[in-house]
Symmetry: C2
Subunit: 345 residues, 2 copies
């Protein structure tokens, strides 16, 4: 790799996250020598704009990775499983936004503010965590370092764009239909490939991703398992309830954390204020707290509603909001790439 720039592929460049990746590479002035947008055969031949130029989208095939140094994948687990090894074989480092490799012990699972030191252990693939996990661990890391964490009980309020543009369009169309008194025929959420679909407009759906035998959804188990892996501590208890709400962008989380030692609330506020990537917005009496609308298009993680559990000396409540397409996906992936090239220098 050279400092004049890298050949960067974005796989799934036309998707909700892929578009943000391209935009973010440009905004952050990531050293791109050549951008290679890749997508399905259907989208190939079209163009996307990058730094004022129209760049042609190519079909994502094994050969398309020839000469690619960094490949950002966001086209679903199946595409990653097939093509990420092909990209690695051709010399690329893959940063993968799907769940395909996240729990593979050979693959570092990275949130740069939390565990950038693990990047160097990669063997070609680095995994980008689940959106709802990323913002939570950014908020928890300073508390883990200072107090230790016994357990986490989290309930999420997740935006529809986490399920792709299709879901965002469905929310808009359903909302229009309801407001016009027309029938709604849901076809996307909670999970496109499952049998039953429910209205998300003016509703909430307590299912994200498929259900498992143990009663949890796959999304909930991602939060459990990925949190432990990223924080590097298998002893932390994590239990999650993941819920879809009629919001376009911005995941919110009600996070209850039981620390290992007693804490001072002012110190917690201070620690979080100083933490990388965090903005504290916390004053209920002045009506200051994070909300998804305000977090949209921002790359930070916003934290508010900090307060102690009045009935448990080590219990802390907080409210964590971040743009699921940015810090929850595209921003984090590009930050991994940045940390990667920093470490290589």
């Amino acid at each position: 790799m050279t400092i004049q720039g890298y050949t960067v592929a974005v796989v799934g460049a036309t998707g909700a996250v892929g578009q943000q990746m391209v935009k973010y590479l440009e905004e952050r002035e990531f050293p791109v020598k050549e951008l290679r947008p890749l997508a399905s055969k259907r989208s190939a031949g079209g163009t996307i704009s990058f730094k004022g130029q129209e760049v042609t989208i190519q079909e994502a095939t094994p050969e398309a990775f020839e000469g690619v140094e960094i490949a950002l994948f966001s086209a679903g687990g199946n595409v990653s499983k097939v093509l990420a090894p092909e990209a690695v074989k051709r010399g690329a480092v893959v940063i993968d936004n799907s769940s395909a490799f996240r729990m593979d012990p050979q693959v570092p699972l990275i949130v740069p503010e939390v565990n950038a030191d693990k990047i160097k252990e990669h063997q070609g693939i680095i995994a980008n965590p689940n959106c709802s996990t990323i913002q939570m661990v950014v908020a928890l890391k300073p508390l883990l370092d200072r107090y230790g964490i016994e357990r986490i009980i989290v309930s999420t309020y997740q935006a529809v764009s986490g399920a792709g543009w299709k879901a965002a369009i469905a929310l808009e169309e359903q909302s229009k239909a309801v407001l016009n008194g027309e029938e709604v025929t849901p076809s996307v959420l909670p999970v496109g490939k499952l049998d039953k679909h429910y209205q998300i407009a003016f509703n909430v759906i307590p299912q994200i991703d498929v259900g498992q035998e143990n009663g949890y959804t796959f999304e909930e188990m991602k939060m459990v398992n990925e949190t432990k892996k990223i924080l590097g501590d298998d002893s932390i208890g994590v239990t999650a309830t993941c819920v879809r709400v009629p919001v376009v962008r911005g995941h919110s989380e009600s996070v209850y954390v039981e620390l290992k030692s007693e804490y001072d609330l002012e110190e917690v506020r201070q620690l979080l204020s100083e933490a990388p990537g965090v903005v504290v917005q916390d004053d209920i009496q002045e009506q200051v707290y994070p909300m998804p609308l305000q977090a949209t298009d921002r790359m930070e993680t916003f934290i508010g509603r900090l307060r102690r559990d009045l009935t448990h000396p080590r219990g802390l409540n907080m409210w964590v909001v971040s743009d699921n397409l940015l810090k929850g996906a595209a921003t984090n992936a590009v930050q991994i790439a940045e940390a990667l090239i920093d470490q290589d220098r």
Copy 2:
């Protein structure tokens, strides 16, 4: 009181809850000899329909309670504080839906499925709990009786109608504006009388009712204090995060409960299935769980997503949904009235 029927006043008869009270008195065939709808001077002179007749709305004054035997109040705490004692003075039993008297040790706070036995302790006023509390205690009571409860950690997803029709209209108007690409000027939520108002359409607001010095909102403290009072156990730890979501009717709650003894999940499901006022909808693999749209206009409390905390042997997650205007307010108030006249017989 006679079995031929009672003179029943509904104070706040034109409000979101008051309308449901009148509707529900009719549907349940509550023995009403005379319905006396009361409201502000502004609404007086209008009519509401009851059992096929148009009944004239009177201004809520102390004298309006002459001859009233049961008075259902749902016109806010200030109206209750002034007029409930006047109604009692004139011989009525007041069932009050405001927060004015709930924590008064002289006033029973009743959810009939849970603590109907306390009704007889009333001294003229019986309080109807907060909407978000009612559905939670209905779900918890069978678990308390069987296993004991150590602590409760709850995050809510509350519908806008909990803040009255104004908030429901605001959600509709804001949603239309957003979909038409127009500017939104919020003026109702989170709390009408506070300085700052936020958009609820396609957003979530982590504030319900006013903020307090301890970092909690008044709504959150209602859940803490009322739950202990209704369950009759001050040792139960309760901590709450109350959040408004863009839903018209139906509050949802992610309830984490740490029981006092270990439990069998199948037994929990069975206990809840047999509990009064409860419908269990619980099969994530078949995509069966409660949602606010499906709970609208239903008077039961719906419970699903039952699953054990995989990292704590006494930890249980559940998802509790109910129509905030019905079981959360009007239905519970009328059920209290029914229990009252049953006990008087």
